[in-house]
């Protein structure tokens, strides 16, 4: 049906609520990317079959939602109205859960979320620290509503903001609302969004572009928004288009996200069908449409000018600024580029007013930020917290601390453009200025926690390898500078470092920062500079003592078994790929240093922390 008025929205909302009201229970099954990879589609089929078996098909509604957040525990499922949260659901155990929970009213505790430190089960989702401390605005519908249903989105207040703006606000009012909200771009640089919109140049054709390239390896926030709540992005783009006078929008999605492409495509088709995209939206003369463009695996295409080249079908090389895209962008026309998460906040801000948004966050950085927690942390997944929440809270309360009781060593924030935050700075507020002071950046929201078994020199090498590989080659500073830096880092991790290498790295880093053409090169040295600043001793150990303290750099490491801790379980010996470990059952084992390749598989497998790295004698 065509939606042309507020009555239509109200009608859809009422119909949807009435339809849902008929069910006494709802089963929300996460169909985010994480859970899909854990075979949640088999669980879905099993739920359908079991509900029919149990005679519950008419009273219980199964809803497939976007990412609920706790990716490591997938497939996960939430049962309403009791709000009991089940994890690691399988086609085999789901029948028992449904019967016990819905028919008998008894919680199957062992299948609910477990706090790994206290070993306590926490059945109700509202009591789980991972969820309790979050404020979800950009993710407000993710994991809450059926991702493929336009009606569900409308029933949750969707497209009301668009209606309000198109029928009762001037474009300048929309810009002002966003400006007043204090929203800053979530793609990395943190430029105030309202201000950016107000800088749009004159022209008969303007464009709004959504940056869904999400190139930071270790970040998966944007995909969760698109996959879990595609209409929210569409509405955000519509509002942005209205505010700046654009009639055409593009969403640039990386090719690694086929599910996001598919779901957004479907949502765009729904919106067109309902008359929410196209001409005369809500009976006004506003005309707006959207198209998806797919990336092809180039990190630099996340940089806005490179992204525009890529949409034009060319090599994704950045262009010098000025002219800024707001004046001369896509095909030379005025263009505004915003990140997915930025746009996912717009409908909320316009709908609820700037003040409602800016009450979260801190001075100079209002609202909330989505982070992707990954690495050696217990609760990996997607979270949204008020800006200014401390890193400690994110790691220990929401994240549940480090896996295996290991020590927190550092967290990389801002991906390959960012820096590391060390244990001593763990009380830092996750906020633009504070992070910058510590040599990191807010970035797009990737937060990788690293434990004591992480070598910081190797981490710097890893990021430099990444940026070097992704450097488009257009400017010399980045193309050659990062190459030389990488060579030095490789040399150090192989035990061939020279005493002057640290200074050379530092100086080269400064030059690349100053001379590179685009943000890729300008930020590429950050991980190196930040690890030198915080972990100089590790660089020195590699260079002067030819030793890798964390036991990661293979050329410098062999492993040893501490006889007093080894119980002789034989697991290491069974897993060693080169057969370097020998010993009898229930007796301490030994590693032959001549055979040991330093791969560390034995340490990863040891349940008794009996295996430690040592210096490889050369």
């Amino acid at each position: 049906m065509k939606i042309t008025s507020i009555n239509d929205l109200n009608q859809i909302k009422a119909d949807y609520e009435a339809a849902m009201g008929k069910y006494h229970h709802k089963v929300l099954l996460c169909s985010g990317a994480g859970c899909i990879s854990c075979n949640c589609s088999k669980v879905r089929d099993a739920i359908e079959a079991e509900l029919a078996n149990l005679g519950l098909a008419d009273g219980v509604k199964m809803i497939e939602t976007g990412c609920i957040g706790t990716c490591a525990e997938g497939p996960v499922m939430l049962i309403l109205p009791e709000r009991i949260f089940y994890v690691r659901v399988t086609p085999e155990n789901v029948g028992e859960i449904l019967k016990s929970q819905i028919i008998d009213g008894v919680v199957v505790e062992k299948q609910t979320f477990q706090d790994k430190t206290t070993k306590q089960y926490i059945p109700c989702i509202d009591d789980i620290p991972f969820f309790k401390e979050q404020v979800r605005i950009a993710l407000r519908n993710c994991g809450n509503i059926e991702y493929k249903s336009l009606e569900a989105y409308i029933a949750n207040g969707g497209y009301y903001a668009a209606y309000k703006a198109l029928t009762s606000m001037q474009p300048a009012d929309v810009v002002k609302e966003v400006l007043d909200s204090g929203l800053r771009g979530r793609g990395g640089a943190g430029f105030p969004t309202g201000k950016k919109w107000s800088l749009i140049g004159p022209g008969d054709q303007k464009y709004i572009v959504c940056n869904a390239d999400e190139g930071d390896p270790g970040a998966f926030m944007d995909r969760s928004v698109i996959e879990g709540d595609p209409h929210n992005l569409i509405e955000g783009m519509m509002l942005a288009g209205y505010a700046i006078g654009a009639t055409q929008g593009y969403v640039y999605i990386r090719a690694e996200y086929p599910i996001a492409v598919e779901r957004l495509n479907d949502a765009i088709a729904q919106a067109r069908e309902a008359g929410l995209l196209g001409g005369n939206v809500f009976g006004t003369d506003f005309k707006f449409d959207l198209e998806i463009r797919i990336g092809a695996g180039a990190f630099v295409c996340g940089e806005e000018t490179a992204l525009l080249s890529s949409i034009e079908g060319k090599r994704g090389e950045p262009r010098p600024k000025p002219p800024f895209p707001a004046v001369s962008g896509l095909y030379g026309k005025p263009t505004i580029i915003n990140n997915v998460e930025t746009l996912a906040n717009i409908a909320y801000i316009v709908g609820n007013g700037a003040a409602e948004y800016s009450k979260y966050g801190c001075e100079g950085a209002t609202g909330t930020k989505v982070f992707a927690l990954a690495g050696d942390i217990m609760n990996t997944g997607i979270i949204e917290v008020p800006i200014g929440t401390t890193m400690r809270k994110v790691i220990y309360e929401i994240g549940g601390g480090m896996q295996g009781g290991k020590k927190f060593k550092a967290a990389q924030v801002g991906g390959p453009s960012g820096g590391c935050i060390t244990a001593e700075n763990i009380d830092v507020e996750l906020e633009y200025t504070a992070l910058q002071k510590l040599g990191a950046i807010m970035g797009s929201g990737g937060l990788i926690a690293m434990n004591e078994n992480t070598c910081m020199v190797d981490t710097a090498r890893f990021f430099t390898d990444f940026t070097q590989d992704e450097s488009c080659g257009k400017c010399t500073a980045c193309r050659i500078g990062t190459k030389r830096m990488l060579e030095i880092l490789e040399r150090i991790t192989k035990g061939e470092g020279q005493p002057e290498d640290i200074d050379t790295l530092y100086n080269l880093g400064q030059v690349v920062k100053d001379a590179a053409l685009c943000g890729l090169g300008q930020t590429a040295p950050n991980p190196v500079l930040s690890t030198i600043a915080n972990f100089r001793d590790e660089y020195e150990a590699h260079i002067n003592e030819k030793r890798c303290p964390a036991g990661i750099c293979k050329e410098l490491t062999v492993f040893e078994i501490q006889a007093d801790k080894c119980i002789g379980c034989t697991k290491c010996a069974r897993n060693c790929p080169v057969g370097a470990i020998s010993g009898n059952v229930k007796e301490p084992h030994v590693i032959d240093p001549a055979k040991c390749t330093g791969c560390g598989v034995c340490r990863d497998n040891c349940s008794f922390a009996a295996i430690v790295p040592a210096k490889r004698e050369r």
Binding site: S37, C38, A72
Partner: protein, 167 residues
């Protein structure tokens, strides 16, 4: 476009001819749309499996743009490949989250076992081994993608059980 009367060269098999035919259709469907080269290349790689030089030449001619432009774009983007692929593409994620969780060990194990370099195809043409830069499954690290399926928390011990599931 004289040399492509049948949308393919003289020596092509019927199978190739059909694929070229399909690619030609895609190109025509984008006619008149700005900036469609990358979308065409995605489609072409999907149909043909990879983008050999002859195919790039065909696309250039059909779209009426210089070959150098097509080649320039193909060589710029990591997603496009000019090498023939195995029946399945195994992409070990080497993004940050996966790297921190030991993904390098998976790569080392694969290159060691099959005695090939990253980017190459195994001797039996079954698998192409690639390293990916984050496939967005960071919460499930280390992650390995085989074709379109993501496998989570893979270790050198479980990797080959997963690969055995593919024919």
């Amino acid at each position: 476009m004289g040399k492509y009367k049948d949308n393919c060269c003289i020596n092509c098999s019927d199978e190739d001819r059909a694929k070229y035919e399909e690619i030609a259709k895609v190109i025509d469907s984008y006619k008149g749309k700005q900036g469609s080269l990358i979308m065409v290349l995605h489609a072409a790689q999907g149909i043909y499996g990879y983008l050999p030089l002859e195919l790039q030449q065909f696309i250039a001619d059909r779209m009426g743009i210089p070959f150098s432009e097509v080649y320039g774009v193909v060589s710029f983007y990591a997603f496009f490949t000019t090498k023939e692929r195995g029946r399945h593409v195994v992409r070990v994620c080497l993004g940050t989250a996966c790297y921190v969780k030991g993904a390098q060990k998976l790569i080392d194990s694969l290159t060691d076992k099959f005695q090939i370099a990253v980017g190459d195809v195994t001797a039996d043409k079954k698998f192409t081994i690639e390293a990916a830069r984050c496939i967005g499954a960071c919460g499930l690290a280390p992650a390995v993608m085989v074709d379109d399926d993501v496998h989570k928390e893979v270790s050198p011990a479980t990797l080959y059980d997963i690969l055995d599931q593919y024919e």
